[in-house]
Symmetry: C2
Subunit: 232 residues, 2 copies
Amino acid sequence: MDTTETARFVTALRSRILAGELPDGARLESERELALRHGLSRTTIRAGLQTLEASGLISRRVGRAGGSFVSLPTGDSVANSLQLVIGAGGISGPDLMETRLAIEPMCAELAAERMGKDGLSELSDIQSEMVSAMRVVGNPSNRQRFLTANARFHLRIAYGSGNAALAAILRGLIDPIEKLIDDPETLGETQLRELVRAHEAICSALQDRNGPRARAVMRKHLQAHLALNGRY
Amino acid sequence: MDTTETARFVTALRSRILAGELPDGARLESERELALRHGLSRTTIRAGLQTLEASGLISRRVGRAGGSFVSLPTGDSVANSLQLVIGAGGISGPDLMETRLAIEPMCAELAAERMGKDGLSELSDIQSEMVSAMRVVGNPSNRQRFLTANARFHLRIAYGSGNAALAAILRGLIDPIEKLIDDPETLGETQLRELVRAHEAICSALQDRNGPRARAVMRKHLQAHLALNGRY
DNA sequence: CGCATTTAATGGTAGTACCAATATAGAATG
DNA sequence: CATTCTATATTGGTACTACCATTAAATGCG
């Protein structure tokens, strides 16, 4: 394996990073120094660093105090690659909804156990925002406000689950899903009102710290979406 | 945004790919031609292609009929970035198990509805492999055989769900999880036998095309793991 | 026709030079 | 002394040239 010099350099540096030898935020040597140390040209070093940067393992800044800095990958990179695959059409609409249906009830259950007071109040703020946006949802910009707040509502619960993996996955799904469901035909005023009501029930279950109920209500809420336009 | 020439080139080419303008497998112009067409140096073009390759959007081959080829990202890139984040310690052990608990029951339910005859027979082959490996599980190499087959069992069901997103996610989780649970203390012969029994029940539910039962049995199976060593 | 050889095209690597951004050291100034 | 401006050093970003290694196609030969 690792036929090229660049690939060798990448795997070497990547394992040092993942092994924790280079802590988060650590500054690597300059490209010129790395080239000398590894007996490679700056060209090759730069190619390797480019790859590592694209993987989210380092970030680079120019300038005197600049250089390459270790940045341990977070859920962001998962969300990004998920969005890439979806954007490329590698995952169908029904797949998205099914995945959501797998993830979010679990998020709700965990959030009921773990979400703090501030998180819950943030959630009810978002809920108020949705209610106020709904009043004039005929206005296109308000419809957008409504949908954005809806996404934030679900994301906030995922964060509230305290589970980085679940949150990252939902973050990757939510934008494509939002575009998928934004259809005035199937998502009219009646449905929006129903949606707000469901959110109310979820909030209440979370405040009661009732995990199973939160899970059940969330599940029902999502399945209602699925039923709206049977096949996406 | 896109302060550097490289970044500009990357975003331009990426959107062309995601827009479907460049179909899967399409061959890009050579680096020298791209440089001319974009009025950039080959250096910059190469930097951009390096990034796109790391994102899984293109692959490159040397040689006369070589070049850069569009490769629409698949679940692999999601699995990879998931493994990167986990490898960097960005996701805890309990997070992993909870995510698994969210994903796999859904996989089982869908697989019960969608898995074909060949898939089911593959599954029972894997099951036989596990049974035969279990007989001499004291032997370390056989223990490895057993665990590998176990992973394949769960992955096969995820594929059988026909849902690319769920399969990709489990693929990213399974290796780290396998290492996590491979503890002779908590996973002794008694537990292995119990595990095989659970797999048997899952197989049977799938063959009966009983989705809800498949979901329930899978869920119970995973929760047994969780209970084994309460906190990972 | 079939096989070996040559040739041409590609990405990979090296090296040099210079540019642009930016933190730091130092000088000028109040 | 404090502040502000200026020079400077260090860094990544880009350009250009040259050559190598790999690979498939074109060519030649038997």
